[in-house]
Every structure is written in C-alpha cells, then in structure tokens.
Symmetry: C2
C-alpha cells in the first residue's frame, strides 16, 4: 500500500516506542518531522543522541549526572545528614521540583520485585549500605513509590537498616496510593515529606 | 537549580517543539530517553535524521516520495482521469487510509490565506494548471480542508479551472465543518467522497 513512504514509516515506528506515543500520534509526529526544516530535525536528532551519550550516573548517589558527581552531591550545602532513597533519577527530579528538601539522595535504580527476578542484589542497596558506613547520615527517608513494590522495598530497607541506629522514615501517604511519584504535584509531595513517620 | 541536568534539558527543549508535546510531556520523554539503551536512542535519532533527509517530493503531484515519483503516481492503475487536490502530503495519507479512492493527487502545499500573505503563487496552483494541460484529466476533486482557507481555496480553484471544461467537484460536508482532514475517520471521509457535488 502506498499510504506511508518508508522513511516516514520508520520514523513513526521509532517514535511509537516512546511512552504515551501511540501508533496514530507517532504517525502524526513523523509527518510533522517530515515537514520540519532540515536544521531543526538535525537539532532534535543530535539532542537525543548526544544527550543520551552524555548521561552519566553520579558515582555517589546514582542520580543522572553530566560528569562523575551529580549537582546535588556536588553541592556542599546539601550534606545535612539526610538521605532520601528513591527508585529512579526522575524521582530525584520530582523531589527537586518541590524546592523543599535540602538533603542528599540515593537512587536504587529499581524496586524489589521477586516476580520479575529483582532482588536486593539487582538494585543499589549494597551501595546504600556502604554509604551509611562511610558518610555521616542521621536520617534515611524512604521515598519509593507508594505501590506494592515500593512499599515492599521500603519495608525491606527499614528492616536491614535497623542495625545502623539512625532515624528511618517513610514519606507519608499524602502521595496517592497506587500512584507514581513522578506525577505527584509539588504540594502533595511536600505534605508527604512533612508527614513522614518512623518505621 | 539542580532539577534537570543539561543533556536532559536540551532533549526536553527539542521534544517540546513537536506538536502536542507540552513542556511536562517533553521532560517525561527526555527522562525516558535518558534511560533507554544507547542503541535504541541511536536508532531513534538516526531514523529521524536519515528519515527527514530521505524525504523527497513527487515531481508530478508534490506528495512525499522516496525517489522522484511517489508511490501513487508510479502506479499505472491509478491513472483513471481523477485528480484529488489536497493541502498537505499528510492529507494524501489520510485519503489513502480510506482505501476507496483510485485516482491521482495534487498537493498544493498550503491553502490561500491573504492574511498570512499566501496567494495563488505561494502554493502549487501553477503546477496543477500545467498538469491539466498535459495530462488526461476528467475530474478534479477539491479536497482541501472544510475550514475558511480550505473553502476559499476550493472556490478560487473552481473559478480558475472553469475554462478547462472538466468535472470539478468538492468533497461533501460529511467532514466536520471547521475540522481537519487528517483527523477524519475513514467512514466519514468515504461519505464525504461519495457525496461530492459539482461546483
């Protein structure tokens, strides 16, 4: 069928792999890209590829970083003894958008999910334990998502962190149960942080 | 602020230029791209850039083409004397999805819009006239969008095509008034084609 020429079909197929971009949206975007000035498409293409290549992970906390250390860990004002444990770098971005947290982060890069074969060794828990041994940490804030895996991970961490004799808190259920940290508005997220409780 | 590192911000800014991709969606997509395997991002980036570079316009009708001639014009079975005049190559794609039109196309690459300084010389009307002189055309179907510019363009074309003594039709108002051809479902589009009338 002569509906869509090959380059547009290929563009649409690749765009279709992005989250929230269905088949129809992908085709619409592909047609738009086909009509964009060459230099604009070049800028988009280069931004994606060079951007992805430039992504590093902070060697301390696992957050996205442009170099060896992320902007949060590089900021001496943030070393206040608080460590906020999240699943993904984008959860760090969500927390930072709130402008109300002054401590550091630890990114697990996943949550425990025995069904998917993700146990403690598959996520950055070992790195967390070694940070607690070497850094001066007073409080660990468990800020994994309020879903099944996130709660299980928080419970697991609360248990294995007991021997460290520090304050272990869980963000309050101000965040909607079953929801996603990334989509939570700043105010709700702030309430969740304020209402955190000992576990 | 340490919210978003530079490569992700750049990706989000570029994605934000696409239609229907707001600031928040763009950031979400950028974070997703950051987490994609390198080879997948490479495939996406290459598909966009190489795809855009590969876009040619059919030298006959102005539709997108991989080479000199588009798939519709290259198909000898389509030369049945009908010429469907549309605004954009993506309108050709919309018509083709209907699987009910067997003629050829002519893409205007715009519609008359005196407010924006787009007159008959800014769109491919001259090319249409020279086709009518050289090709065996029995009917011109005016399938510009049913909006102000599309109707004005159809009226203008109906007037200047009078001397050619051929059947000039306008797709019926089965397509929603004020709507966009590209978003019209196949059935409505087919009804619009069947209900076309002399102008």
């Amino acid at each position: 069928m002569s509906e869509t020429i090959e380059p547009i079909a290929t563009m649409a197929a690749e765009l279709n792999r992005l989250p929230g971009i269905g088949k129809k949206t992908a085709q619409r975007l592909a047609y738009f890209v086909a009509s964009m000035p060459l230099e604009d498409v070049r800028a988009l293409s280069v931004a994606l590829w060079e951007g992805r290549k430039a992504i590093r992970f902070c060697k301390t906390c696992g957050n996205y970083a442009a170099g060896d250390t992320c902007a949060v860990c590089a900021d001496p004002a943030r070393h206040n003894g608080q460590l906020c444990v999240v699943r993904d770098p984008r959860d760090v971005a969500a927390m930072e958008r709130m402008h109300a947290y002054g401590g550091l982060y630890h990114v697990l890069h996943g949550t425990l999910s025995p069904m998917d074969g993700i146990g403690p060794d598959q996520i950055h828990i070992r790195e967390l334990l070694s940070r607690l041994e070497s850094e001066k940490v007073d409080e660990v804030i468990l800020a994994t998502n309020p879903d099944v895996e996130g709660e299980a991970t928080a419970s697991y961490l609360a248990r294995i962190l007991k021997p460290f004799h520090l304050r272990i808190t869980r963000i309050a259920h101000g965040v909607p149960v079953g929801g996603d940290l990334e989509y939570t508005d700043e105010v709700t997220l702030q309430k969740a942080l304020e209402g955190r409780r000992e576990v």
